[in-house]
Symmetry: C2
Subunit: 387 residues, 2 copies
């Protein structure tokens, strides 16, 4: 096992009727809050009213920033930073899914500096402090509610970049599974794919030869994510299924899965970010296209780990290592199809002629993330397997 530091100070309030606590939890950090959210959904399902009432009851003055879009953009983050600075905001309240949370994190990072927040993303500046952040989560997917990282798209440069910093852990995250009841079947599945992708990035790029604690934990999270997603798709208001999916997605990227693995890569996200940046596809949909292709490429190189995955996640116990590895990949692909997540570039209406351009965009991120072995050629080869 590699050395590691694990320090995740986020307070999680999980369950029914927890949204009403957002006011008191936020008031502990200041009197003026920037409320960040997306489009109309939280107004339609009543969450907006619950949150604003709770904040008002706790004496918190609300400045609003709505309009965060899926694949959140830097220009909107800039608006939020300006609002936060002009109003001397003490605390940011994010109400939404990963895009809202990531925007809110970027605003909390940028509000305390004079330079462009993008410099944190490109590594030209390092973050020393951020505004405190509280959140009400409305989508089980990104894990951003209990980690220190975020991703934002710079429209001008067509770059979807991310970074992590210890100052970006939310102080408090409220996870009420009923807040996800109105998430569509399509986005529920994309969320589960995102959670699974977070696990698989660590699981399959882990260079340590034997990590039983982490491996069993990750295998359990993949099983639980698929299982709970299946149950939600049977009944969108199945509380326990929504709760299991929500908690699995949070645990999938809160630092525990990777603790002790040392340096890992995030190649599937790296490639997917190009698809989102260039075609604005939903992150989970892009991942469900990239994952099978990347796994087909990688399974040729580390078949033993893929065989272990097949055995423990899908109970595929017979045959050679290569056979089990292939059947495990196929089983995951079949599950993606079952939950109607796209599994090819064609399904996303992305022409295969674009592969060189997509790879070129991805290489830029690979450089920032220090993944030197992901060359243009290698990424093109993987994308061909995603075609």
């Amino acid at each position: 096992m590699k050395n590691f530091v694990f320090h995740n100070p986020t307070k999680i309030l999980f369950g029914k009727y927890t949204i009403r606590s957002i006011g008191d939890e936020t008031a502990a950090f200041g009197k003026t809050a920037l409320l960040v959210y997306g489009q109309s959904s939280i107004k339609n399902n009543g969450i907006y009213d619950q949150v604003t009432k709770s904040l008002q009851d706790a004496g918190v003055t609300i400045i609003e920033l709505n309009g965060v879009q899926s694949n959140p953009v830097l220009s909107h983050v800039h608006q939020g930073i300006t609002l936060a600075q002009e109003n001397n905001v003490d605390v940011i309240v994010a109400v939404g899914g990963g895009s809202v949370l990531d925007s809110a994190k970027a605003i909390s990072a940028g509000a305390l500096v004079e330079h462009d927040v993008w410099k944190f993303f490109t590594g030209r500046k390092s973050l020393k402090a951020a505004l405190p952040l509280t959140c009400v989560l409305t989508l089980a997917a990104s894990g951003s509610e209990m980690n220190s990282s975020m991703v934002v798209t710079n429209e001008a440069t067509k770059q979807k970049f991310g970074f992590a910093n210890k100052h970006l852990y939310p102080k408090v995250s409220i996870l009420d599974p009923t807040a996800t009841f109105s998430v569509s079947t399509e986005y529920t599945a994309y969320g589960a794919v995102d959670a699974i992708a977070h696990v698989l990035e660590y699981y399959f790029t882990n260079l340590e030869p034997y990590t039983p604690v982490q491996d069993h934990f990750m295998e359990g999270l993949v099983i639980s994510s698929m299982d709970s997603c299946n149950r939600v798709l049977q009944n969108l208001e199945d509380y326990d299924a929504r709760a299991d999916l929500m908690w699995a997605a949070t645990l999938a990227l809160n630092g525990l899965t990777g603790a002790g693995l040392g340096k890992v890569g995030f190649p599937m996200h790296m490639i997917e970010h190009s698809l989102s940046a260039l075609y604005n596809v939903a992150h989970g949909a892009g991942l469900s296209v990239v994952i099978p292709g990347w796994m087909a490429y990688q399974a040729q190189r580390t078949p033993e780990k893929f065989a272990q995955f097949a055995e423990r996640v899908f109970g595929i116990m017979s045959g050679s290592i290569e056979k089990k590895a292939a059947e495990g990949r196929q089983a995951l692909l079949s599950w993606f199809k079952k939950v109607q997540a796209p599994t090819s570039l064609t399904a996303l209406h992305i022409p295969v002629q674009d592969i060189p351009m997509i790879a070129e965009n991805a290489v830029a991120l690979a450089k920032v993330w220090g993944m030197k072995d992901y060359t243009q050629d290698k990424i093109e080869d993987i994308l061909k397997l995603c075609a």
Copy 2:
């Protein structure tokens, strides 16, 4: 899933050469530290020298309290509280295993109040603040390094009681697997049994009908604890095996396994605490006697959960639910025997005639812990199965 709050702020520094950080990490909380440790072992293996040098280099003045014994006692805690108060200590540094950590937590709780610290254990006072605590862990077992609870024995009343409070999370815990190289085969096995017991308490007393995220996590921890213990017993200085066991034991009781399960009991610990209080047996040894008996009793009542355990932990896939449940219990018992942990009262030289007295002692703790269904008769029945 039940509602829960998860907020574990302990910072973990894990790995080789991390002990040298104890000075700087401790200095962040003050200039005068009470160094709490046990007997001579940390002087023999060099850890004492490493810790004191690091503290001195960081400018920390050291007040020493040595002599913590296995099953730490209240009178020694009182000595520590007096020392802390007389010297205006800012921070407590625990160097040892669960007994040292628990003593240090009790001192950190008692140092800031005028009344007897035991009132926190009996529930007559509630804790509002505690001195900050840092630690260097030398035994993989109790999980105390990343949780808010502790257990201490009151010699006068022969009560081994515990309590938990959010102010008792260590601020920083340093987990260097090499610090456990000198732990004997016997105590390595006891530590693994303790970690497994922590998991099983939650796993088998969980009243929620279906909790896949937590169940898979817990099953993985049991598998990893047995697997890593086996490897350590082959080679006491196998770094990765020591590391896996250490991290599994920490995760086994840091709040994650139980998050969402609602109210659970700790019946095996409740009964074992009587054995430790009355006969001063090692905690892990007492547990390895109580676990098989309690499981035999409980498996009659919730056989489905025991069958799931047999399937997922030991791969026992054929036969009726009752048959699988019995075989799973037997497999765990066989593993206890393999690692030479005692599995009967007789092996601990405790006469069966004492069972009523042991049960009477246990009932007192059952009342404090709110486990009303554990009557004298029921505990005696379980103890007979441990004979």
